[in-house]
């Protein structure tokens, strides 16, 4: 099956995200184990590991949030959609996605301002590591989530207005990127 360039770009981005997620998680498992080893073997613990692990928790959470936004797998109460007919549900989805876009944009903008502030004040995360490069995941992830919610808004609008159903190969894409 041939794919449009846009699709390919999207697939590439997904692969990149997955790779980053897998990398951070793997590093985290290994580092956490190293931390215990050095401590028990009395070779002297490595002081930066535990704060670094905590930052990784935030990174994993936000990266996970980005990935979950692709397929809109967020924790939500889906009451109205289950009661409403399909066409109405699509239009409700327009509203909720647009609202999510708006909030994520706000979080990204103010997250960015916060990172700038941390940079200006020279905040330190641990040891000699400055905080701002680690904090940049906050505006970045919410910006990506905003873009994804925006795309979903347009999609829902299109399918809601035209009454067409979403193409099935979208689901296949999700699997193909595994």
């Amino acid at each position: 099956m041939t794919k449009s360039p846009a699709r390919r770009l999207l697939a590439a981005i997904h692969t990149l995200e997955d790779a980053l997620l897998v990398l951070v998680l793997t590093v985290m498992v290994v580092l956490a184990a190293v931390d215990i080893l050095t401590r028990t073997l009395d070779t002297g613990a490595i002081l930066w590991i535990s704060p670094a692990l905590r930052v990784m928790v935030l990174w994993l959470g936000l990266l996970g949030g980005m990935v979950a936004t692709r397929s809109r797998e967020h924790i939500a109460i889906d009451l109205v959609n289950r009661l409403a007919p399909a066409r109405v549900a699509q239009l409700i989805a327009v509203i909720t996605s647009a609202f999510a876009t708006f909030i994520c944009v706000l979080l990204a903008i103010h997250g960015h301002a916060y990172v700038e502030l941390a940079r200006e004040f020279g905040d330190v995360a641990f040891g000699d590591v400055p905080a701002w490069p680690l904090q940049i995941i906050i505006p970045f992830s919410f910006a990506v989530m905003a873009i994804r919610f925006a795309i979903q808004t347009l999609e829902s609008l299109y399918y809601g207005v035209t009454g067409k159903t979403a193409p099935a190969d979208e689901a296949d894409d999700q699997e193909a990127n595994a």
């Binding site: 401590r39 002297g44 613990a45 002081l47 535990s50 704060p51 916060y114 502030l117 004040f121 905040d123 330190v124 641990f126």
Partner: protein, 309 residues
Amino acid sequence: TLKIATLAPDGTNWMKSMRAAADQISAETDGRVKIKYFPGGIQGSDKTVLRKMQIGQLSGGAVSAGALGDIAKEAQLYSLPFTFRNQQELSAVRSEFDHYITDAMEAKGYVVLGLTEGGFAYLMGNKPLRTKADFVGTKVWAPEGDVVTATVFQKAGIEPIMLPLSDVYTSLQTGLIDTVGVNMTASIALQWHTKLTHVTDLPLLSLMGTMIVSDKSFSKISADDQAIVRRVMKDTYAAMDSQNTKDEEGARQALQNSGLTFVELSDADKATWQQLADETLAELASKDVYPVDIYKKLQARLTELRQGQ
């Protein structure tokens, strides 16, 4: 309204006098200046509180002097290891040296409303800890982000386990740590003393509490009202000093009553600790953690005081 956050829990004597001060300020300014407290660390760690002051969510905070080290290294002046041998020495130099801290903070945009002595940190563990050798195999806690404490222990040849305050009790319970450095009042308040048996009777470093308010919030108050706030807080903090000293004495008695052993050190042991402190100071100086010149002045003054006795 001034919004002030602190790690100290509600209901403590300390919070009671803070609330009394707030009432007095409100009365004297005819309700123009109100103070709202956020006790118990609900606004986050000292670091988070400082950040929230910068973005204007909070006006101020009652934080440890150590937490201000990132803003002005002068704040570390009294918090270096083995500087003072007892509370009297610290009290004696305050009138002469406090202004270095307050001036440095004001230059960075913070008004220091109060500076108080929170007693000394003592080593507490589950066996007598006299020499370096006694530390082999101990698991020592150091507060997260506390460079000074961490460096002392590293010089003693141990890697401290850095944990936030909230994890210490559980970690003592499960044995992840077995040695802490803490003042006597807090060791009882946090109930750590129930998991410990020995106190090394040597003051490690003095713990100072500060109350700071950001210029941004303070300048919203009229000059007259500012003067009232400064005066009432200053008086409250001064009264706190003597209360804290009494509390520490009481806590020492309570620890003895509950069966903890106080371990005396020989002069030789004390000398090795002093050497450790000197190495620590040298390393911290190279990292520019504290104001070296002012600290030398402080030490000279202390030497004079000791000779005078």
